[in-house]
Symmetry: C2
Subunit: 326 residues, 2 copies
DNA sequence: TTGAAAGCGCTAACAG
DNA sequence: CTGTTAGCGCTTTCAA
């Protein structure tokens, strides 16, 4: 493998000049530049990235960490990667599988300078474990953090509005008894959905259903469980609102297997407007999940390179009506 | 940020000793080791990975490149990442979006030592562009390569058998006229499927349908197109075999929207046994796509560290019958 | 068992 | 405009 010294020798210049040519820095005469470029081409030379990194003190490499790669996560990841790449940053994707120690390893990569910044999609550790790593590099998360002491920026979108949008539309179309299938009880999304639900019930003067049994349902495998819970309820709910398209898809798959008709016997609504919602033709809420991934990249990049500023794109909800609701 | 020198000073030893402690190499007395470890903990020290990389000449980082992150790709990626991580390697995921120049950039990372090895899932360049990079590090691909001159190892599984399995089962259940929805015409998977189909037709003495119009369908968006082609055919086919679950899902979504009944009016079979096939309840073929991702990691790792040897796991096909075939 | 010192390949300050 | 050189933080040889 050739080094910068080989190029310098071949082109009859100093290593500094070669470096200048490669980085377009400082003054180099057109002629010397040509010589150097010829030498680089001739030896088919590529600079050693580790030496550059060590010398420069950064990597132009951003980390992404999540506890799972299912559902909408992959869309977020993809848009983040694309944006970062456009800005000339590489990315490393890590899946902690919800193991706290793996996540800490990744956080340590920030400390060891292997990562210039980190995008936390889903986390396995408490925020107070994560926050100290802020001093080693910028961190951004998908979640809103409702602990006041924590200063990690977020591309969070408040689910309250999106949820209200669903409830209003269902109500308008004659549905009056809703079941809320919810995600992790400690997540703010869950809390905001519950608030939206309770507020709505208060306004419409209806008695809210018990929320407890439908908590912490995070993937498509909960279909059966949801339906058996619903079957026991009295009076029977006429609409199920799921916290994600992934969960909704599992419920619908089960409904189909049981021969229960939508929207006649039951309405069902997902969340995220993922491909699966189109394929299975169910009602859902869109909010440009891709833009969320890009915003995360923008926040990181803005901190890494103070000279430039990417403007964040505000996110908005839109109800996508399909065959599972009237 | 602290360096190895700070630790050395704090522990009253030389940097060499600190290095020995960190890497568990050479002799260090139990006592000095304790001192050093105490110092490391006290200063909350993490070694600079770039310096290590530069010095050692490798990174323990594997690259993954694909042209898309849809469908089964993500399962392969995830299993590859998990396996690599277990073997103490990190991974960087790149999405070329089918752009040749982006792919070349990634190949250059192999050259610049940023990547120790590369897993090519789908490629944008011709093999003869890619092959020269073999001298900079091991490469493995998902595809079989049928150009003799190319020496890139592969975790390919021959689709011929899987395809025959589908055809035999359909035949046994009374289907006699098949449409083949196929992927990229230059891919070997497509070729092998066509061979399987033609062989089968010859054996059963039936006239094969025209293959041309159903070529190069690679994602779920082809549903409508397939159905309009099928509608024009005479006699009408009674079964559609898709090259992937992704494509099958698009066709089924369209069939559902049109109210066409499966398996009565039409049978449909996917390929890959992805989650979507469970959710939409259609027949498909399983072959442990995860193991394919792991095998890719195994091949790379075996070349990177000659001392150890991960055994490759052979892949087998299994027909998963669901509601879209008799 | 430990330390001194060379050097991985590069960038950038400084001198000319 | 170009060259010399220090040094990024680490591992490893060699000598003690």
């Amino acid at each position: 493998m050739y080094t910068i010294r080989d190029i310098a020798k071949t082109a009859n210049v100093s290593v500094a000049t070669v470096s200048r040519v490669m980085n377009n820095s400082g003054y180099v005469s057109t002629e010397t530049r040509k010589d150097v470029e010829k030498a680089i081409k001739k030896l088919n030379y590529t600079p050693n990235r580790h030496a550059q990194n060590l010398r420069r003190g950064d990597t132009h490499n951003l980390g992404i960490i999540t506890t799972t790669l299912t559902g909408s996560v992959i869309d977020i990841v993809e848009s983040f990667i694309d944006f970062a790449h456009q800005a000339n940053y590489t990315t490393s994707l890590f899946n902690s599988s919800n193991k706290a120690n793996i996540e800490v390893e990744v956080l340590n990569r920030l400390k060891s300078k292997e990562l210039d910044g980190l995008f936390i999609i889903y986390r396995a550790n408490d925020w107070d474990i994560i926050e100290p790593y802020l001093k080693y590099g910028p961190i951004v998360t998908l979640h809103y953090i409702d602990e006041e002491a924590i200063n990690i920026p977020s591309v969070y979108i408040d689910h309250y509005q999106g949820y209200r949008m669903i409830l209003e539309d269902l109500w308008k179309n004659g549905y009056h008894s809703f079941v809320n299938v919810l995600g992790s009880p400690r997540g703010l999304n869950t809390k905001r959905r519950i608030e939206a639900y309770l507020d709505f019930c208060a306004e419409k003067k209806i008695i809210p259903h018990d929320i407890e049994p439908f908590l912490d349902m995070t993937d498509h495998s909960y279909g059966k469980q949801v339906l058996s819970l619903v079957a026991q309820m009295n009076p029977k709910p006429d609409a199920i609102i799921a916290n994600s398209d992934l969960v909704a898809s599992g419920i619908i798959a089960e409904l189909n297997r049981k021969g229960i008709k939508m929207p006649e016997d039951l309405a069902i609504v997902g969340f995220d407007n993922q491909k699966i919602s189109y394929l299975m033709n169910f009602t859902t809420v869109d909010y440009s999940i891709q833009e969320q991934g890009k915003n995360a990249a923008r926040i990181l990049l803005n901190q890494l390179d103070k000279k430039q500023h990417y403007k964040l794109v505000p996110l908005e909800f839109e109800l996508i009506k399909r065959s599972t609701t009237k």
